[in-house]
Symmetry: C2
Subunit: 104 residues, 2 copies
């Protein structure tokens, strides 16, 4: 089973949208900040500070980046990038397990 080794894992969860989206923050062995999270079915808007690489581990989402008219679909083992200081809308079609990397 795939894993991240030698990480520092923050104990307290991040809770968004009343618990419909939750995540666990950690710092990987290269010093990169990441989070592993779960999104339940629903529609959400997220803002970014750092740029983000969002990897869908399992599930299905439709994503529209800020400034775009287009919804794009992402499933298991696909990913999308979001610029810094931006936002995206996401429609979660089935419960989605994701890994977010914050890009310096």
């Amino acid at each position: 089973m795939q894993s991240f080794k030698n990480v520092e894992l923050i104990k307290k969860a991040n809770v968004y949208f009343g618990g419909n989206v939750t995540s666990r923050s950690f710092v990987d062995e290269n010093g990169e900040s990441k989070s592993l999270g779960i999104m339940l079915v629903g529609e959400y808007k997220f803002g970014t500070n750092a740029a983000e690489l969002m990897e869908i581990i399992d599930g299905e989402v439709e994503v529209r980046l800020d400034g775009s008219q287009e919804w794009k679909t992402y499933g298991a083992n696909s990913s999308f990038s979001v610029p810094a200081n931006s936002s995206f809308d996401i429609k979660v079609k089935t419960i989605t397990d994701y890994c977010c990397s914050y890009i310096k």
Copy 2:
């Protein structure tokens, strides 16, 4: 912020009860298996293989161990133990962030 250092964090989430309970498994620096999880409001029954120490990081639950008639309430920074090869019923009153340690 409290954290676990030098852990191996499993990438894929554990999903129970349609996503109402989800957790992330990891192995701490002493080789102990643990998970950090979220339980949404609801009532659940869990079985154990190994004995478990359940620490409530945040939230509120009522717990009845197998063989007991009594419901006990646990809130933030409290914990309860469950024997191996047993089960417990849990009523989650508010979204609950927990850490489960599997005792060898």
